[in-house]
């Protein structure tokens, strides 16, 4: 009895430490970047939540904040950066363009970054107010504390949505993938989950 309580308390302390010391990698592309800067600015301080200083290398970050529109041209870069991050990692889609493509429905915009990578928290808004950003961050912190982090995220596919699997499990390579470097990812080591 003693050991389980002890390790579970330790685990909770670890999660508490994780949620209050998020090192963010702001993948800033567009207008939402301005509101991201405002959220990090003195008035709507992100620092009081521990998520202060952006780590501009994906290898040192654990929160990937996708700020702004993802275009088709940018998608392989986003995929590569996501794969360069180490577990445990979380992803936050900041703004409607990153969540669902926003009001851009055209040949160049990816309709939501969750077509490319799995997402934990979506923050709507065009651009979202800094208070909304802080609300989204708080939501993420609650999920981290509850252990519903990235590894246990319930995929849209498991809920029955018609969403491509490429977002989580890369599809097997085909000859026409020759130009697509992102399909040869580190996750392609034969594992199915």
């Amino acid at each position: 009895m003693g050991l389980e309580i002890y390790t579970s308390k330790v685990y909770e302390a670890v999660k508490w430490a994780q949620k209050f010391s998020l090192f963010q990698y702001p993948f800033v592309t567009a207008c939402c970047g301005m509101e991201f800067m405002s959220a990090a600015a003195p008035k709507y301080d992100l620092a009081r939540f521990g998520a202060e200083f952006p780590r501009f290398s994906p290898r040192q970050a654990d929160l990937l904040v996708i700020v702004g529109t993802i275009t088709e041209r940018q998608a392989p870069a986003l995929r590569r950066i996501y794969e360069q991050m180490m577990e445990p990692k979380w992803v936050m889609a900041f703004g409607v363009c990153a969540s669902t493509g926003g009001f851009y429905q055209n040949y160049s915009t990816v309709p939501g970054c969750d077509q490319i990578i799995p997402v934990d928290v979506y923050i709507p808004g065009c651009p979202p107010r800094p208070e909304q950003v802080l609300d989204g961050l708080y939501l993420l912190q609650q999920r981290i504390q509850a252990g519903e982090g990235h590894n246990q995220i319930i995929l849209k596919t498991e809920k029955g949505y018609d969403v491509p699997l490429a977002a989580i499990r890369p599809l097997p390579a085909r000859a026409s993938d020759a130009h697509d470097p992102s399909t040869k990812s580190l996750l392609d080591s034969g594992k199915t989950t």
């Binding site: 970047g33 041209r73 065009c126």
Partner: protein, 415 residues
Amino acid sequence: METSLTSRRLVLGVQEPEDLDGPDLPTEPMPLNMGPAHPAMHGTVRMVLDVEGEKITNADIQVGYLHRCFEKESEYATYTQIFPYTDRLNYVSPMLNNVGYAMAVEKLLGICEKVPERAQYIRVIVGEMSRITDHMTCLGAGAMELGAFTVFLYMLKAREWLYELLEEVSGARLTHSYLRIGGVSADLPDGFAGKLLARIAEIREVLKDVSKLLDTNRIFRDRMDGIAIITKSEAIAWGLTGPMGRSTGFEYDVRKDHPYLVYDRFDFDVPVGSVGDNFDRYMVRVEEMHQSMRIIEQALATIPDGPVIMNDPRIALPPKAETYNSIEAMIAHFKLIMDGIHVPPGEIYSFTEGGNGELGFYIVSDGTGRPWKCRVRPPCFANISILNHILKGLFIADIVPTFGMANMIGGECDR
């Protein structure tokens, strides 16, 4: 002197720089990719550089990572629906894009003089506020990349004040969509003038602090002086406008040379640089902020009363009270929303002074409520295209201030 050098070398194993520059030392050019996601790049742009040591021998700037198809989307949207798309072009100065686009469509309709005077004054005021936010973001981010984090926070603090005021006017902090064809969508709130004047005084204090931190700072000056010099003839040949063009000595400002709205009634100067290096671009932007504040003060002092949008049901939505109470107004409202404003067939190239330079709108209309083509002439597209040429011979570390002062806004460059 020689003995101390030799002993230093012997003890520390240090080589002097003169030893390293020799014909027998192997060097080879190395391709370096400053990729689409890079902390020092404003927005997303990819630079493929050929470097020898730290010197750049060839630079290829690849834009297009934020191509959100403004032109294609605007072919499917009515003229009023394009306003939100224009907000997201130069997203640090959204009102200026709105102004440019509204003026282009109004010229096509031939109603430029019929826009109420109060609306024109309001357009000038919010446009200049947006210009100040543009320069604040550019200088704040540029200084942060050189290490001056305090300047960034000061500029963001000042920018917050302007965002709050713009939110009171339009309802949104960043993507306002405040203008309409024929005027503005709503009047200024009560007490706005007093609040704005108070904030302008505070912004002047912030700019004074920033000047004290940066203008004579040894590190800042060493990194910005004499770097990336562009001559006036190069600026004209390459199509540079805005602060980047004016820093070279090319004194072209659309507000002075081809005045639009009510800019000819205000007394303001246009700062023009002399050397054309990064420090000139910085100083031109700082000075432009001061001039914008002058324009705002004069506009607030002389703004007339009156309606803020035209009273023509073919162009502007009728007031809500009428829409709910009279059938003609309701039908006009319906037609304007569903069909759009019917602009007579024609073409126009209308240009205004955006945050980065001459923001042009080339609109081709075919007579329906949706444009046949709505093109933006992005000022920073031309401004960045010269960098391929200018970056040759600079060090890698010089890219950071040069790119910062060029102010590439992805939304505008890639549309």
